[in-house]
Amino acid sequence: MNILVVLAVVAAFGLLRFGRVSLLVWAGAWWVGIYVLLRFGFTAPIPASVVSLYMGIVSIAILAYVSSSQERRDEISRPLVRFMTDKRYTAFLAATVVAIPALAAANVYVQMNVPLQPPLFSRTVHPASPSEITVHDKKIDLDAGENPFRHLEASSPTEFRTHVENGRKVYYRNCVFCHGDNLAGNGMFVHGLDPIPTNFTDKGTLPMLRETFLFWRIAKGGPGLPEEGGPWDTAMPAWEKFLKEEEMWEAILFLYDSTGQRPRAKEEAAK
């Protein structure tokens, strides 16, 4: 929730409450207030079609309310009738009569001149991995498996550093062109790629993934993705065509080491 917007709407309602305004103003205020809340009150934007659905319901509710008794009907219609009949308002009424069709026509123009948009495919960025893959004739268990070099971090730090350094070499000779020198997904070819390469420095990416998941994405690349991942669009190579299995595990060590992040731990077996 966007607290500032919510507070502003509440404050506006408070002012109206003390201002003793007419029912017509209240009806308008509820409509506008709820629209503002739906449109700007939520941090994650609500799709326009959903907002218009809600506003339709709100409109019906307000109409039902104001027409529910003779008194309310009168209170609503009185200012409207005065606006349309009182000579004082003739000029204003004329302006309104012209303005509404003009706005509607302008809206039609905008709707008909929306810039051409190629069809959009909303791909799943990190689809579920299979539980087992075969790389270079070797079966790799992605659920129960681990990075074969990870245990060295505690048992043999020097050996571990060697593997990290090997991973760095693999990265800068292969991955750098798309994922970039500082691992931020902004390599020299990024302007020609869609989808864009993963940004490894993003705090919400590497720490959320297991090393075996990365191994699957690296070894099988774009073509190894399921349909929802859009395997036909991504330029991520199936690195098993270029790299040995150890090199891929070492590159994964480097990704975590260089960005100072930790891989996601293995899920506890469901009880």
Binding site: R78, M84, T85, F121, Y172, W232, A235
Partner: protein
């Protein structure tokens, strides 16, 4: 009173003298500091740590430009041990200033593997720049301390200055490398090498966004004034006056149509009334919008191309009642119209490594100084591989989001490749089911024409809207489309090429519906409703003057009627 005034005067003059003395001290101090500017031990130490983390993989632990990634990079990473730096504010051949080094690390070099480093703080950039000075002994030599050249501010660019610049451009011989139209296609272009013997390409002056030293007028003026050390690009500081260099800047500035490449993801095919006639060439396409797509190296399938010389293609499309035609254009410094090419020609894996060697390909003499006296005429360049281009569309109109794999399709979803080997008169068609499975599928539907003029290839493909095989093109429809370009001189063929990912071709309906009709209809409808409502209200309640309405509840109209 007077004595106080005098005392005040004495004090203030004393102060003045002190200030002058201080200023002198500062000036002499800074004059001394204009000697070697290599920072403190601590700064260099901090810079070294950063260098080993961020730079050494390309520039090497020893700063010699031979890091383990270097063999796949082109242009090659700078060798710091020679003290030769491209982008500087100092005279030709001189060392760069500390600020020059900081700036280039901060900004990076567009369209090379040297990125910008916005993530490094000013202090870190400065430390890095200090550490880089330790690689060449020249930096500690007081005799070689860099002095900046005078780079006066920019006068306004005028028609006259551009005209004068154009004349100077030809007189000075810029066209020898950069070409008459600035497309980087001068006769010497394919023969150029840098000071280390690596082939080097002159800048395409019509695509300013690729300029290594930046694309502003100030950047262009600085490059003209100081040259690019280690490359054949000389300095014109002595040869041309400030105004002349500014005039040349204005001319170069005028060569690019825009500041940015303006890459898009959509090409719109426009309907034309006359039947498309290939013999009329590119003139037909004038009404069609130009779409520019970025070309990147094919680095997904073996054998990879890490540095395609083509960085973008422009595409225009038209269609008549029968056919659709696409015009693809790109800049190429040397047309290869002999030899052969093909989408599935094999490439030995060792060609992935190392910079392309066009000079070696043709056996021509490499040229480091294009302005040298008695320069041997550059030998005609020839490669065993010709230039080629292809358009790729799905074999069937995709249903839903599913498309064929963007690199020559896949087993389930094939692509049609419209392939034009530019050594041959006509394009041919292939069916692609992945890089390893490309078969000829020549139905004779595809025709085309290609021409090369002043550094630019213009290739037209034409196919019936509904061909005997392949997906039909229908008005109002989007079709996935992708492109590949092979540069024969760089020995590109098969998988070693530049390509695009999937973009879209939209076949614009013959008549785009006008918005005026619906606008008027909507407005009239709403106006009619409004008038009806107001009329009804007035009929029921009557037109009133002020005050008559009072505060009383409205009486039901029926009693008044």
């Amino acid at each position: 009173m007077t004595s106080r005034v005098m005392r005040a005067a004495a004090i203030s003059s004393g102060c003045l003298a002190f200030l002058i003395a201080l200023l002198c001290a500062v000036l002499t101090g800074s004059a001394r500091a204009a000697g070697p500017n290599m920072g403190t031990e601590a700064q260099r130490e901090s810079g070294k740590k950063l260098y080993l983390t961020y730079c050494s993989q390309c520039h090497g632990d020893a700063g010699d430009g031979e890091g383990y990634a270097a063999s796949r990079l082109y242009p090659r990473p700078r060798n710091f041990t020679t003290g030769k730096f491209k982008v500087r504010t100092t005279p030709n051949g001189a060392l760069p200033t500390h600020e020059d080094l900081v700036n280039i690390i901060k900004r990076g070099m567009p369209y090379t593997s040297m990125p910008a480093w916005p993530s490094l703080s000013d202090g870190q950039l400065s430390d890095l720049a200090y550490f880089i000075t330790t690689f060449s002994p020249d930096f500690s030599d007081p005799e070689k301390a860099p002095k900046t050249v005078s780079l006066p501010g920019a006068p306004k660019s005028t028609k006259e200055s551009i005209e004068q610049g154009k004349k100077l451009y030809a007189e000075t011989g810029c066209d020898g490398c950069h070409g008459t139209l600035g497309r980087g296609d001068g006769p010497s272009a394919p023969t150029l090498v840098d000071d280390w013997g690596h082939p080097i390409r002159p800048a395409d002056l019509t695509q300013r966004w690729t300029f290594r030293g930046g694309s502003s007028r100030e950047d262009i003026f600085r490059t003209l004034s100081t040259g690019l050390n280690g490359t054949p690009m000389p300095s014109f500081l002595d040869a041309l006056k400030d105004e002349e260099r500014w005039a040349m800047t204005d001319f170069i500035d005028s060569l690019s149509e825009s500041h940015d490449p303006g890459y898009t993801d959509l090409v719109v095919a426009r309907h034309v009334l006359d039947p498309i006639d290939l013999t009329k060439g590119t003139a037909y396409f004038e009404s069609a919008r130009v779409a520019r797509f970025p070309i990147i190296g094919q680095i997904t399938e073996p054998v990879r191309e890490f540095h395609p010389p083509t960085t973008s293609v422009t595409v225009q499309a038209i269609y008549d009642t029968e056919s659709i035609a696409l015009l693809v254009r790109w800049h190429d410094m040397s047309a290869q119209k002999t030899g052969k090419n093909g989408p599935s020609l094999p490439v030995p894996p060792e060609e992935e490594e190392g910079a392309p060697a066009p000079a070696a390909a043709g056996g021509a003499q490499a040229v480091t100084d294009p302005f040298a006296e008695e320069q041997p005429a550059p030998a005609a360049q020839a490669s065993e591989f010709s230039d080629a281009v292809s358009i790729q569309v799905p074999s069937q109109v995709p249903t839903g989001a599913r498309k064929p794999y963007f690199i020559f399709g896949d087993a389930q979803n094939s692509v049609d490749l419209w392939f034009f080997d530019l050594a041959r008169p006509d394009p041919v068609q292939f069916t692609g089911r992945g890089s390893g499975n490309i078969a000829p599928n020549d139905t004779g539907d595809l025709t085309g024409v290609a021409s090369y003029d002043q550094g630019e290839w213009s290739v037209i493909f034409k196919r019936p809207l509904r061909a005997t095989s392949g997906a039909p093109f229908s008005p109002g429809q989007f079709m996935p489309i992708a492109f590949s370009v092979w540069d024969g001189l760089s020995r590109e063929r098969g998988n070693r090429r530049g390509l695009t990912v999937w973009y879209s071709l939209y076949v614009e309906p013959e008549t785009v519906p006008s918005a005026v009709g619906p606008m008027v209809k909507t407005a009239l409808l709403i106006l009619a409703i409004e008038l009806a409502v107001i009329g009804w209200v007035r009929w029921r309640y009557g037109s009133r003057t002020r005050g008559e309405f009072g505060g009383k509840p409205t009486q039901p109209a029926a009693t008044r009627a």
